[in-house]
């Protein structure tokens, strides 16, 4: 029994150690600004197309399903309200997180994994560089800055998708749709909608780095690391989502 648990416990301990060192490096020199900008371009700008597509269609399909349900009560005019709340509080951050995990956790794991199995990580250490400072911290910072921005894009595009569907299928006037979208949101929704992607970004970047840096066994090992990174980053996003949602609900209940 203890032997079975030893592996996962060791993995959690190693991951926590990596996280601690990556965060500590934020406050230590040297800072690889070029690498941070490069990663921001890769994680942020590079993910815009998939975020636009998933955001638009998720918003559209949500408006379609919500509109159908609300039609029975003659409340199609409130479609925007539902689309807005669900997108900003839940669907936007989670979908963006999962899409970026699929694209970037895998990319990070395969890049770092290839470097590991070709001894580039050892070479980096031999040549006076801390690989966590040079490779992990810039990715963590870039993801933490870009994921909330991508979520804002996803939310907005999703609202546009919802507006088109509400207008075409249920003849909801644009002014009414955007008015309900705007009025439905309160500051805590915006706070929740931006806190979640910020927290998810650590899962996306650090899980990718963790599996990449522990890759062994040549190209097969890199493939395995890539798969594990995507799976665990996606699972972590859903688990974290539950906890963050619970915390925000508890805070809002205290407020009332």
């Amino acid at each position: 029994m203890l032997d079975t648990l030893k592996g996962p416990i060791q993995a959690v301990q190693d991951f926590c150690e990596l996280t601690g060192r990556a965060i500590r490096n934020v406050f230590r020199k040297p800072h690889y600004v070029d690498d941070i900008l490069l990663q921001m371009e890769s994680i942020g700008v590079g993910s815009v197309p998939i975020v636009l597509l998933t955001g638009f269609f998720s918003g559209a399909v949500m408006a379609m399903q919500m509109g159908r349900g609300l039609q029975d009560y003659g409340q199609t005019g409130r479609t925007g309200q539902f689309v807005s709340i669900i997108l900003v509080r839940e669907l936007g951050p989670v979908l963006t997180g999962v899409m970026v995990a699929g694209r970037n956790s895998s990319g990070i794991a395969s890049e770092l994994g290839s470097m590991k199995v070709t001894e580039q990580i050892d070479a980096m250490r031999a040549l006076g560089t801390d690989p966590i400072q040079k490779l992990v911290t810039p990715r963590m910072i870039a993801a933490a800055l870009m994921l909330p921005c991508l979520t804002i894009v996803d939310d907005f595009v999703g609202m546009i998708g919802g507006w088109i569907m509400a207008n075409v299928l249920f003849s909801v006037p644009g002014r009414q749709y955007w008015s309900t979208v705007w009025r439905a949101l309160v500051w805590s929704d915006v706070g929740q909608g931006l806190t979640k992607p910020f927290i998810f970004s650590f899962a996306v970047s650090l899980i990718g780095c963790y599996y990449g840096l522990r890759a062994t066994g040549g190209t097969q090992g890199v493939g395995r690391a890539t798969t594990q990174a995507v799976v665990w980053a996606s699972i972590a996003i859903f688990v974290l989502d539950l906890f963050v949602s619970k915390i925000f609900i508890a805070i809002s209940q205290i407020g009332t």
């Binding site: 001894e119 580039q120 050892d122 070479a123 980096m124 250490r125 031999a126 040549l127 006076g128 560089t129």
Partner: protein
């Protein structure tokens, strides 16, 4: 073995010393088992051994990239066993290492790869305007100064190995570790690489550990010296170089001595690395 004595009577300083060093991964048998040896300045050590005998792990342990499970490692007479990573950076700047697969950074050009230690080794301070000449000089040493703007993926295996040598020697380190420099190369390219190692040793008076499984590599290092006037390697015989052979078997040192002793050794494992058909024919 008697300590080598310099003309003024002082013994050569120790650059790398292993004292009963053991390395193991998880619960597996030790990859290196109670290994002891002492490398003194001016020596060239040829480390022979079968695949999996612990040669690469030995070099990585010497560099502090792998921490031993037991024993002590001394670099330049400083105990580096279980030192924190940050504390090792200074001492690592005195060592150049050629990795088995070259380990050039894919995302950087050849010039950026060679400049990397100059930019990142904290102990090495070089003015910005001296950077490019240093890189150019190092690349010209391996006769690849025309590849500065190329990426490693655009180079052949032998050229990548030569760029990696240029990166290892650009800071003029007194100690060089070569991990299987000729592995996977054709005989002509392998000879070129070994000739570069001899040239580096004799032109800059460096100490080197060369891991290989090819006896002819060791034979070349032990019997030839670089002639700076002619730019060629001249045969000088085993007495003309300070070359020591080590043979590793399953993490243990089974032979340590000069070429004459190695060729006279009757151990069945050791003779597999020495009595090659081409040598017997010669």
């Amino acid at each position: 073995m008697a300590e080598p004595i310099t003309p003024n009577g002082e013994s050569h300083p120790s650059l790398l010393r292993f004292e009963e060093v053991s390395v193991r991964f998880a619960a597996d048998p030790p990859v290196i088992d109670r290994l002891s040896f002492n490398v003194r300045a001016g020596e060239t050590r040829i480390i022979l051994g079968a695949a999996g005998s612990g040669k690469t792990v030995l070099l990585k342990t010497a560099m502090g990239l792998i921490q031993p499970a037991g024993g002590r490692v001394f670099l330049f007479d400083e105990d580096v066993t279980n030192k924190a990573e940050a504390e090792l950076f200074n001492i690592r700047s005195k060592i150049g290492m050629l990795f088995q697969e070259s380990a050039l950074f894919d995302s950087m050009t050849v010039a950026q790869n060679v400049a990397y230690p100059l930019l990142n080794q904290k102990a090495i301070v070089i003015p910005r305007d001296q950077m490019e000449p240093a890189v150019r000089k190092s690349l010209s040493f391996v006769e690849l100064e025309n590849t500065m703007d190329k990426y490693p993926s655009e180079l052949s295996g032998g050229m990548r190995r030569r760029v990696a040598i240029a990166r290892a020697v650009v800071t003029n380190p007194p100690l060089l570790l070569y991990d299987s420099p000729t592995a996977g190369l054709d005989p002509i390219t392998a000879h070129t690489i070994m000739a570069l190692i001899v040239k580096e040793r004799d032109a800059n008076n460096t100490t080197a550990l060369v891991v290989t499984h090819r006896y002819q590599d060791g034979n070349l290092v032990a019997n030839f010296r670089y002639n700076p006037k002619s730019g060629r390697l001249d045969p000088v015989g085993p007495e003309g170089t300070n070359t020591i052979f080590m043979v590793m078997k399953e993490g243990r040192l089974v032979f340590e001595g000069n070429q004459t002793d190695l060729e006279a050794c009757s151990d069945s494992y050791v003779t597999k690395f020495v009595k090659r058909p081409e040598l017997e024919a010669a």
